[in-house]
Assembly symmetry: C2
Homo-oligomer: 196 residues x 2
Amino acid sequence: MYPEALKLLIEEFERLPGIGKKSAVRLAFHVMNMEKSKAERFSRTIIEARERVHLCSICQNLTEDDICPVCKSAKRDRRVICVVEGPKDIVAMEKTHEYNGLYHCLHGVISPMDNIGPEDIKLRELMARLTGECEELILATNLTVEGEATAMYIARLVKPMGIKATRIAHGIPVGGDIEFADEVTLARALEGRREL
Amino acid sequence: MYPEALKLLIEEFERLPGIGKKSAVRLAFHVMNMEKSKAERFSRTIIEARERVHLCSICQNLTEDDICPVCKSAKRDRRVICVVEGPKDIVAMEKTHEYNGLYHCLHGVISPMDNIGPEDIKLRELMARLTGECEELILATNLTVEGEATAMYIARLVKPMGIKATRIAHGIPVGGDIEFADEVTLARALEGRREL
């Protein structure tokens, strides 16, 4: 009933997660009524985000450079690496201002139910980093079954190498998401970490 | 904390109506992780919807042609014009399958509080159409103060021209939006229209 080009735009919005039919119509009309320059900027930003952002060759976090600002920084404590599931978790950790070590982004967790094994996450890249000055891995995967299992798996891998493996602890409700935890809770969880 | 290009994409999503910070992050990550071809299609669709869709030169509804399919159709009853606030209302009306006349899309209502006068909506274009075979205007603006006032205003304009002005009626709750009314209610409202 809508013109074809508008219908296609509505369909694009409907494909996004958490956007239903009515929201999609509302968003498409909003974009249709945007100033031309703003719609063009929106359109361009989609392409540019995809083209310019890639993974840091060390920690696998998102970055526009070859090596991300955290890995590059001389102020960071290189003896500690905090291992997280995704880039959003790193943003949450940085917001605590309590952590000064490095990160490693797994981009997932081991989940046999979903056919995701150790080779499907950035675990090989983590192991390759552990030849250097690293003394401790803080395993900050989510407190879900898969997150716990992944932490245990990594702890068992690194302990024979003489690297301390600690698990982020306390304060975060079990089943909750690290990316949405508040700063204080997350800071407490960092403090209370225990060795596996 | 996120790479600049990703931050810009998050900001673009945040500017959309009804999208908060967390949803914007979720949507931006979704787009980042899309297949390249799909992200390009999404980006292109935004531009194309804006470029290809414009207003029908007769009824002011959205169309990709000079004249929209309804205005073009030989099967439509040219003696009746249903006047609505926006294109979404036309879609809702068409879904009833009870209406076979033409439409006129005002793209707004008269609202002195918002500084919107009769010259700010597509009223001149409506008046220009009334020289022909039109015998009745169905005023299907929303049942809000502004919608009612706009209907009254138009009714007073066209009555001296010998054109019947009717108001859509019954079934739609006062203060409700026509675009979200269900088909049956809207069909009842069409049936029960009364002359102003």
